[in-house]
């Protein structure tokens, strides 16, 4: 047994277990496996860092969400929000479960189409939809959600070109008593702008308004906001049907349901503050029952993204180096950072070790591999002294990370799916130099001999 390398001593403030601030976690969080597959085996086979998705968890979350709504309202359809995670394998699981596609750009639209999703099963949202893509979407029967008056004009032109009446929906924004109010998307209800848009569509006579859409925000912790949103949408639907010949056949209440992730600045743990999917369902469907005329049910669309995937995603990362900072904090350099975890700016992740470490817990700063000051995974977390090469599992990271990740400084890593039987499947390979440079063109005069 060799001599231990010298470490300067650290002074740590011991929190009382009954302190006003609650119980700081002095327990080591250990995760040895994901769905029964050993973490080390995963990183040995697929490398580190490594994104891992659990199909079991995804399907469970989807079924729970679908049942929460369908057992309360008889006409429900989920649309898988592509931007949340558009890896083909991930989309496939949700499409298999019955979700249609919700896209916000021509790129995502093409992706869904290539994937075999018919235009009719695509909800096309977004503040900017290029003219050509509007034309394609209209001719393929997609559910186009209009965001601006300019888009109405564009679509009327498309209608003339295609010689058809285009079924459309309008996107709405409204005051539902929360801050910030997402007022930059769609037409405002309170100011009368939404009704103006309806009149404008009616005057054009080339579009058939049949749906209303609104998306009030993201990571919404207040279910009452949904109740107000739904109520306002139903009331607008009634107004439209009373004053025009349009029949609103669907209401799309968007998404924004929170996952069990810890938003920075919210003190209590997600288990306490995040409403259950049943709470969201109850809020929305009770508003529907309260205000709908009966007989015919408009279809209720939901574009839940985060809630269905966030908790199914993990990032396995390796500790590559450590030092002590001048303020006494331990500093760990991981092989994954904000290049892969764009959402690290808002969320405090769960950091789990793969095996129990000896020694006492100390405050640590967990950094990524970028040579940038902002590359912080966690500013302050209690960790035991880690050995170089030890693994850490970061979660939940299923939402937005593999769509917002950057090829910056480092290659983007592999992504693995663990199926229902516990088998692993590589669903995206680690990038290589070629992937990064494939689209580059080097002018001849700059090429060296």
């Amino acid at each position: 047994m060799g001599k231990k390398p010298y470490e300067s001593p650290t002074i740590i403030k011991i929190e009382s277990s009954m302190s006003k601030a609650g119980l700081p976690s002095m327990q080591q969080k250990i995760r040895k496996d994901i769905d029964g597959v050993d973490i080390h085996a995963l990183s040995d086979e697929y490398g580190s860092p490594l994104f891992v998705f659990s199909e079991q968890k995804m399907r469970k979350l989807y079924k729970e969400a679908y049942e929460a709504f369908s057992s309360r309202y008889p006409n429900v359809q989920f649309g898988w929000s592509y931007k949340t995670n558009y890896l083909q394998a991930i989309c496939s699981v949700f499409h298999q479960e019955g979700a249609i596609a919700e896209v916000v750009s021509e790129f995502e639209y093409e992706k869904a189409r290539k994937f075999g999703i018919e235009g009719k099963d695509i909800i096309y949202n977004g503040p900017y939809k290029p003219y050509d893509s509007l034309k394609t979407a209209a001719s393929e029967g997609a559910k186009i959600h209009i965001d601006t008056f300019d888009e109405i004009s564009d679509l009327e032109k498309v209608a003339d070109e295609l010689g058809m009446t285009i079924p459309v929906a309008i996107r709405l924004n409204m005051d539902i008593g929360i801050e910030p109010q997402w007022s930059r998307f769609g037409f405002n209800i309170e100011s009368g702008q939404a009704m103006d848009a309806v009149r404008r569509i009616e005057a054009g006579g080339k579009l058939d308004l049949n749906g209303l859409h609104s998306h009030i925000g993201t990571f919404m912790l207040d279910t009452n906001a949904y109740k107000m949103q739904t109520t306002k949408m139903v009331l607008l639907m009634k107004e439209i049907e009373a004053h025009t010949d349009y029949i609103i056949t669907y209401l799309d209440v968007g998404g924004g349901f929170a996952s069990k992730a810890h938003l920075k600045g919210i003190y209590q743990p997600p288990e306490v503050v995040v409403p259950s999917i049943d709470d969201y369902a109850e809020a929305i469907t009770s508003a529907l029952y309260e205000h709908l005329e009966h007989g015919n049910y408009p279809r209720l669309y939901l574009e839940t993204g985060r809630h269905l995937i966030d908790e199914a995603g993990y990032l396995i990362t390796t500790m590559t180096g450590t030092k002590r900072l001048p303020d006494g904090r331990r500093n760990y350099i991981m092989d994954a950072g904000v290049n892969l975890l764009y959402t690290a700016f808002w969320f405090k992740y769960d950091l789990e070790l793969t095996e129990r470490q000896d020694g006492m817990m100390e405050p640590a700063l967990v950094n990524g591999p970028l040579c940038m000051n902002i590359d912080v995974i966690d500013e302050s977390v209690m960790l035991p002294r880690l050995k170089r090469g030890s693994k850490m599992v970061i979660s939940p990271v299923g939402a937005y990370s593999v769509t917002q990740w950057m090829q910056f400084i480092r290659y983007r890593p592999s992504v693995v799916l663990i199926d229902m039987q516990g088998q692993t499947h590589l669903i995206r390979e680690t990038e290589e130099l070629h992937d990064v440079e494939a689209r580059e063109r080097l002018p001849e005069y700059l090429q060296h001999e």
């Binding site: 049942e67 369908s70 057992s71 309360r72 309202y73 008889p74 006409n75 019955g98 018919e118 009719k120 099963d121 029967g141 010689g163 058809m164 009446t165 079924p167 058939d208 049949n210 029949i247 609103i248 056949t249 669907y250 469907t285 029952y289 009966h294 007989g295 015919n296 049910y297 408009p298 279809r299």
Partner: protein, 701 residues
């Protein structure tokens, strides 16, 4: 069609349309005496009946008297729709003309008799209507008897009594056994000549093979039974009232009952019974020198129908079509497509629930309360999560309970505490409940709702699918569940009645009109607004279609949405007058009752998509049934319809349809060989295209 204007009858300006409908009514009434619903046959019969000018003339006097009288009392033209009103006076007129020559005096007699018959017909019609029993020619029998009795005193009328018999109308060369059948047939219209009978038989044969076969069976069964009693074939054959056998056989075997083995047996029993009736009444009536007319036929058929109606005889023809073949076809199709049950409910919840107890369930659905359903939500074989010790652990707890029908809330209770798990309330065993009376008058009871969860009030009108309250565990309920039953009265706990669920989804398949067995997981649905809108066909809207064979347009046609102003039924009509009825109810859009030529494009639409559930799920399937001959494109129609009496299944072709996506439906008809069909729904309204057999029918824009 022009609407009847209220002023029309108050003035004496008869327009040509009214004249035409009077004329049609008159000739139709001739046809209806032989159960033929076709004015052309009536015209032929009228012309044939001129063989005996006197009878015909007095018949017509009676009819015109009645029409004038109806006009005089400002009766609405609609009454002409009902053949009974005219054919009874017609028969009375003919029966008078049969023995009295038409003179000024006898004409007066005819007119009085006709008006009296008319009055009696209306009186009897309204009395019989309560029991839904036809009056047949009962008024004729009664009034003719009256006239014959009265005329015994009118000696002046007898002086020119007519018994002229045109020689050529009797086919003397035929064997008696055949000529008597023909003669009986002729007698129905007071023309007891085998030659005339032969014409009638030819008419009936061309109109309906089933009626023809029944007329023969009825006649010879009657004669056979009678000859056994009398001991003489000849006497039995030559009895003047044998036409009653024919009428009874056709009426019971094919008109008022749906043709079937059972109906035919009943008809033959009726024929056999009529023998006794004819002999008895003839002996009695003979004293006063009056004929029995159609009295045996009337009494026997009416008695049978009264009893069969009260026992809800399954083959009772509630919907009598133009021919027995059509009645049979419609019955078989309705049986397979709509199951003929009269109490239909929607499932009282949203989403997937499991049947915990069905009819005759082993725990509580017993005795008077055997017709009830219990539903719970199950996941992985359990109705709860965790230990199941708390109400909140149960998936069904506090889930919305939706109204299974549209109707009025008559009674409810909302104050019973929900039991803790493991306890039941044996005092208020129905717990919190709601009793709703449906639009059709049935009483539906739902039990065990959560305390203080009911969202409707007594007297509220609720629509099917509207929220009533939340599922709970009140009353005799060991775990949260929904109990639903249909009962005889509004009183809580009254005797239950069988019912069926209109439409629900089971394993991505839509079931129509069925009772799911225990443990089965079923999913409810209510009309999707989008499909509802796309399949809304408003009155007078038009749809133009091009028919493609390959790339080439081979035909075009236009459909117009129309409404029958009597029945209120909607139908599509093409320019050739072919009709296809459509309906949207009970969670589905469906086509039915095609009337028109075979091989029309309208008929192809029917084949391609007889029914669409008003709910969309990708991959959802459903079954339906079509008349086999549409799918087979066969000309063996005659054989098929006769065969259908014994083998109904041979008469229909099953098909299976599936939603490929929100706009395209594909189907397979299980004919030999199988046929593929497809239907495209327009994004906004109507049917965009139909792919059927070798054609594509496409909407023109």
């Amino acid at each position: 069609m022009s609407k009847p204007e209220s002023g029309c009858q108050s003035t004496f300006n008869m327009n040509s349309a009214t004249m035409k409908s009077y004329f049609t009514a008159v000739i139709s009434s001739y046809a209806e005496i032989l159960f033929l619903q076709n004015p052309r046959y009536g015209l032929a019969l009228l012309l044939i009946s001129f063989i005996n000018v006197n009878t015909t003339l007095s018949g017509l006097i009676a009819v015109f008297t009645v029409l004038a009288f109806a006009y005089f009392i400002r009766m609405e033209v609609e009454f002409l729709q009902n053949g009974f009103y005219i054919y009874n006076p017609l028969l009375v007129g003919m029966s008078i003309g049969y023995i009295f020559e038409v003179t000024a005096v006898s004409a007066l007699l005819i007119m009085m008799a006709a008006i009296f018959t008319f009055l009696l017909t209306i009186v009897l019609y309204h009395l019989f209507l309560k029991a839904s029993i036809p009056i047949l020619s009962l008024p004729f029998t009664l009034v003719s008897t009256l006239i014959y009795l009265a005329s015994l005193n009118y000696t002046s009328l007898y002086t020119q009594a007519l018994y002229i018999k045109p020689a050529f109308v009797d086919l003397t060369f035929l064997p008696v056994i055949l000529s008597m059948y023909l003669k009986a047939m002729g007698t129905i219209l007071f023309l007891p000549y085998s030659g005339v009978g032969l014409l009638f038989v030819i008419g009936i044969l061309s109109y309906s093979r089933i009626m023809f076969l029944l007329s023969i069976a009825g006649f010879y069964v009657g004669v056979f039974v009678h000859s056994m009693m009398l001991g003489s074939w000849h006497l039995a054959l030559s009895n003047p009232y044998t036409f009653n056998y024919i009428l009874i056989a056709i009426a019971l075997g094919a008109i008022f009952l749906v043709p079937s083995i059972r109906s035919i047996l009943i008809a033959m029993i009726g024929v056999a019974m009529s023998v006794l009736f004819i002999d008895a009444s003839a002996s009695f009536w003979a004293i006063y020198k009056i004929p029995v007319f159609t009295l045996p036929f009337n009494v026997i058929v009416i008695s049978f129908l009264f009893v069969l109606q009260s026992v809800r005889f399954r083959e009772f023809a509630y919907d009598i079509k133009k021919t027995p073949e059509l009645t049979l076809r419609s019955y078989i199709l309705s049986f397979f497509r709509f199951r003929l049950g009269d109490i239909n409910l929607f499932l009282p919840f949203s989403g997937k629930w499991s049947v915990y107890q069905a009819f005759d369930g082993e725990w509580t659905h017993q005795g008077e309360w055997r017709y009830a359903y219990d539903f719970v939500i199950m996941k992985d074989g359990e109705s709860f999560k965790g230990e199941g010790n708390h109400l909140e652990d149960y998936f069904a707890y506090k889930k919305p309970v939706l109204s299974p029908v549209s109707g009025y809330v008559l009674d409810l209770k909302d104050s019973v505490e929900d039991n803790l798990i493991g306890h039941v309330n044996t005092i208020e065993n129905w717990g919190n409940y709601i009793i709703i009376q449906s639009q059709l008058g049935h009483f539906i009871e739902i039990s065990h709702l959560a305390r203080a969860s009911i969202k409707v009030k007594k007297g509220d009108y609720v629509e099917a699918g509207q929220i009533l309250g939340l599922c709970g565990n009140s009353g005799y309920s060991p775990q949260p569940h929904i109990h639903i039953q249909v009962q005889e009265s509004v009183l809580l706990g009254s005797k239950t009645l069988p019912f069926q669920f209109v439409s629900y989804i089971e394993d991505d398949h839509v079931q129509f009109y069925d009772d799911p067995p225990e443990k089965r997981e079923v999913e409810s649905y209510f009309n999707d607004k989008s499909l509802d809108k796309r399949l809304s066909f408003t009155l007078d809207s038009r749809y133009s279609y091009d028919v493609y064979h390959g790339e080439k347009i081979i035909d075009t046609f236009e459909l117009k949405v129309k409404m029958n102003r009597f029945s209120g039924r909607f139908y599509f009509e093409d320019q050739k007058g072919n009709r296809l009825h459509l309906a949207k109810e009970a969670g589905m859009f469906y086509l039915y009752d095609y009337e028109g030529k075979d091989e029309s494009w309208l008929q192809k639409i029917y084949i391609a998509i007889p029914r669409i559930p008003l709910v969309y799920r990708k991959g959802l399937t459903w079954n339906d049934y079509l008349p086999a001959r549409y799918a087979l494109r066969t000309h063996l129609t005659y054989l098929l319809s006769i065969g259908a009496i014994a083998f109904p299944r041979a008469y229909i072709t099953k098909g299976k349809w599936q939603f490929k996506d929100e706009q395209r439906i594909e189907g397979v008809l299980f004919s030999h060989p199988e046929q593929k069909v497809a239907v495209g729904l327009d994004q906004s309204n109507g049917i965009d295209y139909i792919e059927v057999q070798e054609h594509i029918i496409r909407m023109r824009r």
